[in-house]
């Protein structure tokens, strides 16, 4: 379970998060939507302890991670997987080395066991025979899949996705959406997806948090979201840019 209370974060005089309160239940598929530059990635980095807030509380499975030392956070993060917006693959390593990185560093498994785990995890994300390719030789969608495989190889219980479908064509986007849903079901993980893609929201989401002006403006189900008459929600869902005071 993820609990956030009164989270504030500013960069200089830019107040990105201004009192975020939210709660994500274990096993739930939560979607965080909001405008580009609205602080979604910043919020995700707080949830994973990559950034320290100015103020507020973040509890992961009941443990407050605010102000923790990096080495303690590493232990907390063993329960987490993050798929980054740009995939963030290590470009000095092959795909196989990227995916096997966690197990390799952990040093508990033999090379053969790691190779097997890499193969089966890549299969889970619908990739085969790419172990020896370099990240620079992959398409955008493949990179994201590899990033996901690398993140989930150690069977974490919470998976975070930062804009999993941004910059991909609709067909690839759809396959990624299905993949997220499948991983959520197969691995029984808590899923947190950050997106402004309404299709992802519809396909994957069980609960939607709308981030606006540095706060959670609304929490609702996808059905409620798409039926909402709230002007802000309506404009966002339908992609209308009129009016200057939206989101």
């Amino acid at each position: 379970m993820i609990q956030v209370k009164g989270l504030y974060k500013s960069f200089g005089n830019q107040h990105v998060l201004r009192g975020v309160d939210m709660q994500i239940q274990a096993g739930e598929a939560a979607i965080i939507i909001g405008r580009s530059g609205g602080g979604k990635s910043v919020l995700l980095k707080h949830l994973t302890g990559l950034i320290c807030p100015d103020k507020g509380e973040i509890k992961i499975n009941g443990i407050d991670i605010v102000g923790m030392q990096e080495r303690e956070l590493l232990k907390i993060r063993r329960e987490m997987a993050v798929m980054f917006q740009g995939a963030a693959l290590f470009d000095s390593m092959t795909v196989g080395e990227n995916v096997g990185f966690y197990l390799q560093r952990e040093g508990k498994k033999t090379a053969a066991e790691i190779a097997k785990a890499v193969e089966s995890t890549l299969e889970l994300v619908d990739l085969r025979g790419v172990e020896n390719k370099w990240p620079s030789d992959l398409s955008g969608g493949m990179k994201k899949r590899v990033g996901l495989a690398r993140a989930i190889i150690h069977n974490p219980s919470i998976v975070f996705y930062d804009e999993p479908t941004a910059g991909l064509d609709p067909v690839v986007s759809d396959s990624i959406d299905k993949l997220i849903k499948r991983i959520c079901e197969v691995k029984k993980v808590t899923t947190v997806v950050i997106t402004h893609d309404m299709r992802t929201t519809r396909t994957v989401g069980e609960r939607v948090f709308m981030l606006s002006e540095g706060q959670i403006y609304l929490t609702l189900t996808p059905d409620e979201l798409f039926a909402s008459k709230d002007p802000k929600v309506y404009q966002f869902v339908n992609g209308i840019s009129e009016g200057d005071d939206i989101i």
């Binding site: 590493l74 997987a81 470009d91």
Partner: protein, 244 residues
């Protein structure tokens, strides 16, 4: 400034308690040490050559030809070998570290490491600093040896200095202290250059432009830091050797 301290403390902690791997250090020694040899050897050779040539031209006027090689060897050992090797390594290794870590920082690869149960200092910084600190004194010794040899060949075979007296003077005047000075300076310079490269890389911001800035910054800061530290090391080491 506080971030510099934080990294220094982080590196010290990592050295004793961190989860670093010997294989990463060995790999870095190869990348940093073995691959820098050519640059350092060429630098050492031409420095020795030009120093012998210039010294000979002056000393020849006073009939002090046989002191030429001694001047070269003392200067190479305690000053020119370590400083010039360090300047070349700043440009080659320091810049590469800043560019590599900077790229990893701006493309979220460092954040990715942190989510994969890996402390960036254990995995990236410590192996680089340890490897450079080990490789640098070796590179310095190579620069010194090549510089002295190149100088000897120029002096004896081209300028026609008497080899027997020159050799005797060189061995007499160059003390073990000079060589040790060079090696100790190499250790400090290696540590300094790699620290600056890693620090600039990790604190990199603003995308590709930031990586460029971090790289140039590293070369400039590391070169200046090497020259300044060299002066203080010369003073301190000469005091220490005077006492011993």
């Amino acid at each position: 400034m506080s971030q510099i301290w934080e990294l220094i403390v982080g590196v010290c902690y990592s050295l004793f308690r961190g989860d670093w791997k010997m294989s990463d250090i060995v790999n870095q020694i190869y990348l940093i040490g073995v691959r820098s040899q050519l640059v350092v050897i060429v630098t050492g050779a031409f420095t020795g050559l030009v120093l012998v040539a210039q010294t000979y031209f002056q000393f020849h006027k006073f009939g002090m030809d046989t002191m030429t090689l001694a001047v070269n060897s003392v200067a190479m050992c305690s000053e020119l070998g370590p400083v010039l090797a360090a300047l070349m390594v700043s440009g080659r290794v320091g810049a590469a570290m800043a560019a590599e870590l900077g790229t990893m920082k701006v493309s979220e690869q460092i954040d990715a490491l942190r989510t994969l149960n890996t402390h960036p200092v254990d995995y990236l910084v410590l192996p680089r600093i340890v490897a450079t600190t080990i490789a640098m004194p070796v590179l310095v010794c190579e620069a010194i040896a090549v510089g002295i040899l190149a100088g000897y060949f120029l002096g004896v075979y081209i300028l026609g200095i008497d080899p027997v007296y020159s050799w005797a003077n060189m061995v007499n005047i160059t003390s073990v202290d000079n060589v040790i000075t060079g090696v100790i300076k190499g250790i400090f310079f290696g540590c300094l250059i790699s620290f600056i490269g890693c620090y600039k890389g990790l604190s990199c911001k603003n995308g590709a432009q930031g990586v460029g800035e971090a790289t140039t910054d590293t070369v400039v800061s590391a070169s200046i830091a090497v020259l300044m530290l060299n002066f203080f090391l010369t003073l301190i080491l000469s005091k220490i050797f005077a006492v011993l």
